[in-house]
Amino acid sequence: MSKGKRLHPVAIFLLFLSALKELIVPIIAAFIFGRGAASWDFPFTAYFVIGGFLFLFLYGYLKWLTFTYNISDEELKIKQGIFIKKQRFIRKERIYSIDITAGVLQRLFQLVAVKIETAGGGNEPEVLLKAVTKKEALMIREQLLKDKVKVETETVDSDDVAIDNAVQDEQRETKWELSNKELLLTAITSSGVGLAFMAVLALFTQLEGWIPDEFIVDTFGYLFHSSLVLIIVLILIIFLVSWIISIVGTVLKYGQFTIVKKGDELEITRGILERRQLTLSLERITAIRVVESVLRQPFGLVSIYVESAGGGSKDEQLSTVLFPIVLKRNLNESLKQIAPDFVFDQTVESLPRKARVRYVIRKLVPAVVLTGIITYFIPYGYVATLLIPIAILYGNLQFKDGGIGRNKGYLWMSYRTVSKTLVVIPKQRVQAFEARQSIIQQIRSLYTIQTSILYSITGKSFNLVDVSKKQKEDLLSWYSYEETKE
């Protein structure tokens, strides 16, 4: 108990690799710039490289040797450092989330990495145990998350690639799974297609230089008399390719998505190539977002994100996906299973009618300016006037989708940037409430409201522009903790 544990020896190799990765840029630079400077003899270079590798390996070994962790009743103790010894004690109740992941390298050795995050962590995860066995990882999680340490003999089937949740609890367990059909829907309607399109397009323009011109002319030249057709076909091909890439990417990311709820803890597991597991405490959820992206809205599909204090990975903009996809009319059912606190009738009171003009103008002005510039400078630029009706429609849509609602304990706001979003915030999660009015808003006596919540380690705020005076007053007194209400 008193002695700290070391990581799995494979960690030496992983540490070596990550040290190598950090040095890769200087090494490449040395190769490129070092060449001309001095003509090194071959053996010298070889010794140098071998020596460097040995040194890095030794470094990894020492790092592994000096890194120990130890879980006691109250805290996690980490000792590390080769020359400068660092000791870190993290109290159990400060731990927000424990993220168990298995990268490709870890999976080769049937190992996992455990990421432990606490409040006020900064960008780096607080503690990263690079390589431990699955059994050990589950034990660590069990020990850290339970207040009273239960010594249990667990049965873990270690042959399966997935991180099995063999740890059975007496508490009631609920499970939510993403079916294959839903996974496919998620993938098909994923908005990653835009991003992939850009990437493929960039690649394609690079490729053009490599393919000999005659080849292009020969194959396509006689097929298409008009170059316009060629361009359209090319774009369609690129679009299709990027769509497939985006579908595959999404499937890999969200494949085998499961949420297991045990008491107040949610365990979210996802991914096909790289299994990721995130443990999230329901108490830490500061808001949920119901997002209807443009591609999903027509099918009545929504995705649900949770904002939480701590946890979350970077690629999801520090928000965690709760349900990648769910039918809007089944939303409450799913929420009831997983986050019952957030289930209620979310009726939205729309914005005052006089706000419409402002919403439209805000989109119209840039569109008109842009159209003017394009028409003036580019031949056939007047085609850009099409932007103007689009801008008007867009502004109208944003107005239509804006709205607020509240009950005693919750506030929800709906708004559209591109996707339509409904954010639900419990009153006790709102850190500060602000109502503001610009000089221009004063003319129509409209206000902007802003709610700030804790999110990760800093704050995040949600704005709703142009609410009526009555709505503003209503919300101020809703949020006020003084007895003035009612």
């Binding site: 006790q428 602000e434 503001r436 705020s461």
Partner: protein, 159 residues
């Protein structure tokens, strides 16, 4: 309708803001000076120089006299038992409610200029946001800090 908070900030704040406003407007002096050299070297018209000087003077007047006064008039705050209510902002009028149970810590700050006029700024920090009540007299700021801190520790979760 929720009443506007009753407390104003110290009148000495006006002096401090006027001084900082005047100092800040010195920055805009760069434009006429820069143009003066261009005018000398490339023989650009002198009339523009006078225009720039006029603009500079206008900016200085606005920043030194108009803005501080308007800002001071707008600034209101009130500390209730359960929350802090702020109103401020020149072009955008802001109204902020900070419940006591959300307050993480309160402190007072004082730069050299504020110290000269025996003023201090109270800073209220929640988990997600930071708010300031600028330029209160020293003892008032200290009292306010202690009061908010006391109320914040006493406040209980009633939800």
């Amino acid at each position: 309708m929720r009443p506007i908070p009753s407390q104003r900030i110290s009148e000495s704040a006006l002096k401090v803001w006027r001084i900082t406003g005047a100092l800040q407007s010195l920055f805009y002096l760069v434009i006429p000076i820069g143009y003066y050299f261009i005018h000398n070297i490339f023989l650009w018209p002198a009339s523009l120089l006078w225009l720039f000087i006029a603009v500079f003077i206008a900016i200085t007047i606005v920043k030194t006299f108009v803005i501080p006064l308007l800002r001071w008039r707008r600034w209101r705050y009130e500390v209730y038992e359960n929350e802090v209510d702020l109103q401020f902002g020149l072009i955008i009028v802001r109204r902020v409610l900070i419940p006591m149970i959300r307050v993480q810590h309160v402190d007072t700050r004082q730069g050299p200029l504020l110290r000269k006029y025996r003023l201090a700024t109270v800073t209220i920090t929640t988990a997600a946001t930071v708010h300031q009540i600028p330029a209160l007299s020293e003892e008032r700021a200290a009292n306010l800090r202690d009061r908010i801190s006391k109320l914040a520790t006493e406040a209980e979760e009633d939800v």
